[in-house]
Chain length 132, copies 2
Amino acid sequence: MYDSVGLEVLSRQECLELLGASSIGRLVFTDRALPMVHPVVFALDGESVVLRVPEGSATLVARDTIVAFEIDEIEKDLSRGWSVMAVGHVTEVDDEASLERLRALPLASRPHGRVDHYLVVELEVLTGRRIP
Amino acid sequence: MYDSVGLEVLSRQECLELLGASSIGRLVFTDRALPMVHPVVFALDGESVVLRVPEGSATLVARDTIVAFEIDEIEKDLSRGWSVMAVGHVTEVDDEASLERLRALPLASRPHGRVDHYLVVELEVLTGRRIP
């Protein structure tokens, strides 16, 4: 299936597979009424995306809002490429049993001497495109 | 200078140089009250970003709004990386003299048999971070 500009439309399953094979994405949120986008480290966890965010990060204003999340890999000459975009609610996980499980996910971090927050983005809308 | 999570803060000049050396970014906008993010082909033109968008693209709803625009290059292990984010107004260029100039910019396109639109994002806010 192709969209209105001739790109191949990916299935939800294909989108999940691409998310499962990636580890850096971009979180899109609103900060003081302005659109914001920050790169984030993430891991796919079932049908959610888990973000590891250090205390003090501006990304934390996305808690309890609806965000977009995006990954892509596109050649400069557009000879090949794909992108996946999700929209969903963000919640912070703060109960110790769940945190223990999330800390075992492959989530890279830089040493920063701060508490890490774990945010979960539900993949309520999940769409993807590939250059055919 | 470093930010609250220990990332190096880039100057406006460094952000412009990274934009000038890149050609695929992500446009962040709002569509029916939901946050959206789409990969886009772009070229830096002075202190603006020019996008080439085919007729029929969902990106066109960003016309005459305030958007965010992002580029990044980040290693999976966070050993090195940088990102640049801009916020500004989007306008479509549709006078023939300006279009002629913009068509000469290095903006890749896939053959699609449609009219191309040229959108200009003013870089009103421009920030960047680098892993030190």
